[in-house]
């Protein structure tokens, strides 16, 4: 083998190793990476909820200037006066409840983004990784009750995941001028204790508490 041929083979070997290394690195990064901004948002909300445990019944209000915004994890736009829009198909809320748990009812004040492309947009609510409800909501609605059984509540910790089928920018769909992608608008959440008969505390008690 001439020296030129040897150099060529050596160069080929080096390039092969480099190329394979890049492919391997890409696969490693793809499988091991976690969106750092999402993780940070969730961690911050988790920490806040841990130090601000909720006593039932409780009502959380979301919007600009509302302190309960800090219970929101990842997936939310900046707040508006009457609530906060999710920025993607998934958004999370971190809650930590005080006291002995027998199960709770979540009453959600939400409305979904709807357009002619997605007239039947749906919201899926998961608690601590388990789906508890598929909610077909058309347009503006409020007060949707979702019972959460006791066994899903992990020592008072509730990781709520709101997932919508369709999330898009009104500007792109020609339904408005907002360039942001919109999924679900969250205005408030009531958390009520589930009593032995499956009924909830009276809403009035919540109002009184507030």
């Amino acid at each position: 083998m001439t020296s030129t041929a040897s150099i060529r083979w050596a160069l080929f070997a080096c390039l092969l190793i480099l190329g394979c290394g890049q492919v391997a690195a890409y696969v490693f990064f793809r499988t091991q990476s976690v969106d750092f901004i999402a993780r940070n948002h969730d961690a911050t909300a988790e920490e806040y909820s841990h130090f601000h445990r909720l006593t039932l019944p409780a009502r959380l209000r979301f919007g600009s200037g509302k302190s309960d915004m800090q219970y929101l994890g990842d997936g939310w736009h900046l707040p508006e006066s009457d609530g906060v829009w999710s920025s993607g198909r998934d958004a999370s809320v971190e809650l930590d409840l005080q006291g002995p748990m027998t199960g709770v009812v979540l009453r959600l004040g939400v409305s979904l983004y709807g357009s002619p492309k997605s007239p039947n947009n749906r919201l899926r609510l998961s608690v601590n990784g388990k789906t508890v409800a598929w909610l077909p909501i058309a347009g503006q609605e409020s007060g949707i009750d979702v019972p959460i059984p006791h066994d899903l509540i992990n020592r008072g910790t509730l990781h709520l995941q709101l997932h919508v089928d369709h999330c898009e920018s009104p500007l792109r769909e020609r339904t408005g001028s907002d360039p942001r992608r919109l999924g679900v608008m969250l205005e408030w959440i009531d958390i009520l204790r589930l009593d032995g008969n499956g009924a909830t505390d009276a809403v009035s008690s919540l109002e009184k508490a507030k």
Partner: protein, 387 residues
Amino acid sequence: MKAAILAGETASMRPSQQLSARIFLSICAIFVASRTLLLVSLKVAVAYLSPKSHLQGVAGLLCHWDCIWYLSVADIGYTQKEIVQGAFAQTNFCFSPLLPVVMRLLGYLFHGNILYVGLAFTNACFLAALVYVYRYARLLNFDHRVALLSVALICLLPQSIAFSALLSEGPFLLLLAMAIYHARRGDYLVSGIAAALLSATRSNGVLFIVFALVMVIRQGGFRGLLAPWRTPERFVPLVFAPLGMFVFWAYCFAVTGDAFAQVSAEEHGWNWHFYPVWENVAAMLRVDGQPRYAAIAALSTLACSFVLLREGLYEEFAFCCATIALILSGSGVVSIFRYWIVLFPIWVVVARMLSPRPVPLVVAIISTVVLAGVFLCALALRSPLSL
């Protein structure tokens, strides 16, 4: 000879490619004249349109929009802290590392203000890039007049003030010109190193692999592509091009656990989501104002890029198309010309096309200068048009 060069075969330095002092001085003169014209025009525009603007002094005029992000990376490094800008919370992970790293290094070496050393660096890069553009045009056997006209056209393009600002356009243009020029001359190692630095300057620099891939196929055919051990040197730019991006990914992974921190930052902070190009262009054309102008500018640039085919520059054509397609697939396209001014092969062949036609040439130069003036006024008014 031209066929050999276009096929990327090794070419010895010919007299036409050698840069005499006279030519270098001509390029310097174009550089200085164009920068002076742009800066004076911007200064006048600021004085009349926005006298209370923060754009004061030369450094102030040249530090706008993303400049502050590069300064933040150079000053405090990458940080996960989010800063609220308009409707979004943004982090500086969105910005590629080469420019801020060099700024920090030069600031440390010269004990200088990183803004000033950064501006000196981007301008030096732009001047060097113009030299490369001239040499590239000559390498393609275009005459001296066409080569100088290419240089002048790039200096006068709308938003070409970005080359002299504290933005990545200057270094990007230099590294792209180096990578293409040396690849065409057969200096594969230099081309590969420039390509690796290119992908560390801006993430879309990694698209140089498209250029390198087409070049490999044109040189050796598909058989050559499938038998890389026969001429491995031709694959050096192809394999080296993503290295800069991989280094940044590795750094991001080590610091945040997210190798794709740049993409995450773009999605969360800049509302940048990917859609099929045709959907995105249709959406942009439907919307009044900036998105529509951006789409029109992109499509016009794409139309100009077809002149590359007439010159047989298939590699450049593939690279430019890939760049335009990638950028147009993002929902956050905000700049109207800034993305395209770095695609210098297009401007070189446009100069070649215009050079023998005095009337279209004059019309093109006047239109370009008027448009550049409009963008300078927009910059003085801090209008998003000038992004």
